[in-house]
Amino acid sequence: MSAKGAARQAAPYLFVAPALLGLALFKFYPIAVGLTASFFDYEAISGRAAWIGLGNYRELLADPLFWRACWNTFLFNAVVTPLQVVLALGLAVLVNRHLPGMTVFRSMFFVPAVISLVVASIIWDLIYNPDNGLANSLLAVVGIPPQPFLVSARQAMGAVIAMVTWKGIAYWMVIFLAGLHAIPGVFREAALIDGASSWQFFWRVTLPLLVRTIVFVVVANTAINFLLFAPMYIMTQGGPSDSTTVLMFEVYRNAFVYFRLGYASAVSTLLLVIMLVVVVVQFRVLRPRVEY
């Protein structure tokens, strides 16, 4: 093979090498170590570890709290991810125009993304305070009696979902805006001249052209939401009555409250497996159907 030929063969590897090197050192290796810990009874602080094979997995599959967390995680993700994606896409489409004032709207929609998740959780915790919070003040204006929000097992999960959705929409909207940017304005004009309605245009042209962006948002958002627990930690501590305990909370609790890193790692591994299954399904379902 000629030198040029070899260079061509090597080209893709050279492109991905720097990033893969970084990931190998700072992600792949620690992940391998971290997940392997799931087969050990590993006392984080003293470093003492004993091989127990599937012991952690057996223990956790027999624990009702684990199953409760699974259910809560499923509930949370089944609602939040689609909600965020649809709303973010909707907003992006709405503001993706050359009308006066759109810049202002785009900036205002982005505001939730400029506060960190931890700070946002703290602020919303105050907002949801049943006696002192902004939420009940606003409801009072429209005549709705004060709600318990985070102190009610029925409302807590919904309250957390609302807050997470508020934050997430801003974040994903900018990605959709970038995706929409690539769809040339002339297409839209031509379609409208031909008599197509805005909705038809959106459904038949915009959406299919946006598929790759949508795949990204759906998959990345899924991963992020499955791993989310700061809002639960700050606002409800997993309660009331374990109603907001998600799997990641169990990971955190076992790792940093109980120092049982092996067990925490087992929960995390199972969570990873669940995520991978969901993501594979998403990739299959959302395969791009239009090439242009």
Partner: protein, 424 residues
């Protein structure tokens, strides 16, 4: 042409990584020892105490440099855990007193017996000496303790015609406190509560609530430390916890979601809290006029206690120096300055004696009484972290309206499973 750019970028990236390994610290004229000191971030002015310790120590030991790291309170344990687990990053550090047993069990604390003067050791209160010892060795040095009392709003109670007792022998029963709280709770026209009769500093922590159970006659754990069944979920414990839960639900004298600074802002009439709040409220909410009444009791008075010790990491490279630092923080002289600045309840008899005016008059006289006569420390068990978390969940569920017996039974079952693991 394209090749050159690509190679350059790659090399630059690798260079960035490589340069890190070649970075060397500038060496001082004489080889200085660096000690890493991890402390909880206490904010002004209380952090002046540790700054003072560092300054004095560095002056007394010119070859030692202290790297002080103040860590946010909520994340302190996480940071310490990673440092301990990774085997570096800490030499001397704050140890929350009930963690002496777990850390001792995990063998991460350097025994300090050789560094402690036996006579000086007797200066510490008996309780604190017990907490600091595990497996027959001294593992930490106490430097602060805690005690609680009920702060009450003078104006609100006067208006309601309530005069709480000031002497510990006369203290309120919980039933009496409840009666007072009911009278003091005020609702707004729209149904929300304007003033809560009674609020508690640490709403769901065992530190705060275990004494209630113990005051009613329950025990935290079996004497040999092997189980909680029959102890933590005894009928006395259930009764006490249910009473506590009723404060939030049946009687609604306490808020289910804590209101920040409720007492200082005049949104609560009675506030069961730790001694540092004396200075805190004076400073942040000077318009609120208050006085103290002793911690209520069911059958026999029990108050919470225990706070911070200082320990040395077993794998430290400088055991002598790190131990010296721990001693500097906790010695009798520094203890007096610590009290003046931080206002934690003292752990040394000499500190109490050094401030006779403080401890013979309210409010600190009350704390002195409680610490010496009614304080019961948290159980010393290697499973404290799990115990605390599981009991806390039970307490929280009861606050949310759950049944005390069911919650305690659940917690006890889980705690005992954990304890069984530690027995092996």
């Amino acid at each position: 042409m394209g090749m050159t750019r690509r190679t350059f970028a790659k090399t630059a990236t690798l260079g960035v990584l490589g340069a890190g390994t070649l970075r060397s610290r500038p060496l001082a004229a004489q080889e200085k020892i660096t000690l890493k000191y991890l402390s909880v971030a206490r904010g002004e002015p209380r952090r002046q105490a540790i700054l003072q310790v560092v300054e004095r120590f560095e002056k007394a030991h010119p070859t030692i440099k202290i790297e002080l790291s103040e860590v946010p309170f909520d994340q302190y344990f996480q940071k310490v855990s990673v440092a301990l687990a990774a085997g570096s990053g800490v030499d001397t550090f704050d140890v929350d007193s009930p963690l002496v047993a777990p850390y001792g069990h995990q063998d991460v604390l350097l025994p300090l017996d050789d560094y402690v003067d036996k006579k000086d050791w007797e200066d510490f209160l008996e309780q604190d000496r017990q907490i600091a010892t595990y497996g027959g060795k001294i593992l930490t040095l106490p430097w602060s303790s805690s005690s609680q009392a009920v702060f009450y709003n003078l104006d609100m109670l006067k208006e309601a015609g309530i005069t709480p007792p000031s002497a510990p022998d006369n203290r309120w029963t919980w039933a009496q406190l409840l009666e007072a709280a009911k009278k003091l709770t005020k609702k707004a026209p729209d149904g929300t509560t304007e003033i809560y009769g009674f609020v508690v500093e640490q709403v769901d922590r065992p530190y705060q609530i275990l004494p209630l159970l113990q005051s009613n006659g329950a025990q935290a754990i079996s004497p040999d430390g092997s189980k909680t069944a029959g102890f933590l979920n005894s009928p006395e414990a259930v009764e006490a916890l249910q009473f506590y839960g009723d404060l939030y639900n049946k009687h609604a004298v306490s808020p289910k979601k804590p209101i920040p600074d409720a007492f200082g802002r005049g949104q609560a009439a009675l506030f069961l809290a730790n001694s540092p709040h004396v200075n805190q409220i004076r400073r942040l909410f000077p318009q609120t006029r208050w006085a103290l009444t002793p911690h209520p009791s069911f059958k026999k008075p029990v108050t919470p206690t225990g706070a911070w010790h200082v320990g040395v990491f077993k794998k430290t490279k400088h055991p002598k120096e790190a131990a010296a630092l721990a001693l500097a923080y906790s010695n009798a002289e520094q203890a007096k300055d610590n009290f003046k600045i931080m206002n934690y309840t003292p752990v040394r008899k000499s500190t109490f004696e050094a401030f006779p005016d403080e401890f013979r008059q309210p409010p600190n006289s009350l704390f002195y009484y409680e610490i010496t006569k009614t304080a019961v420390r948290r159980p010393s068990t290697p499973a404290w972290r799990e115990y605390e978390d599981l009991l806390r969940t039970a307490i929280r569920n009861v606050i949310d309206g759950g049944d005390a017996k069911k919650e305690l039974d659940t917690a006890v079952a889980r705690i005992d499973t954990v304890l069984a693991r530690y027995k092996k």
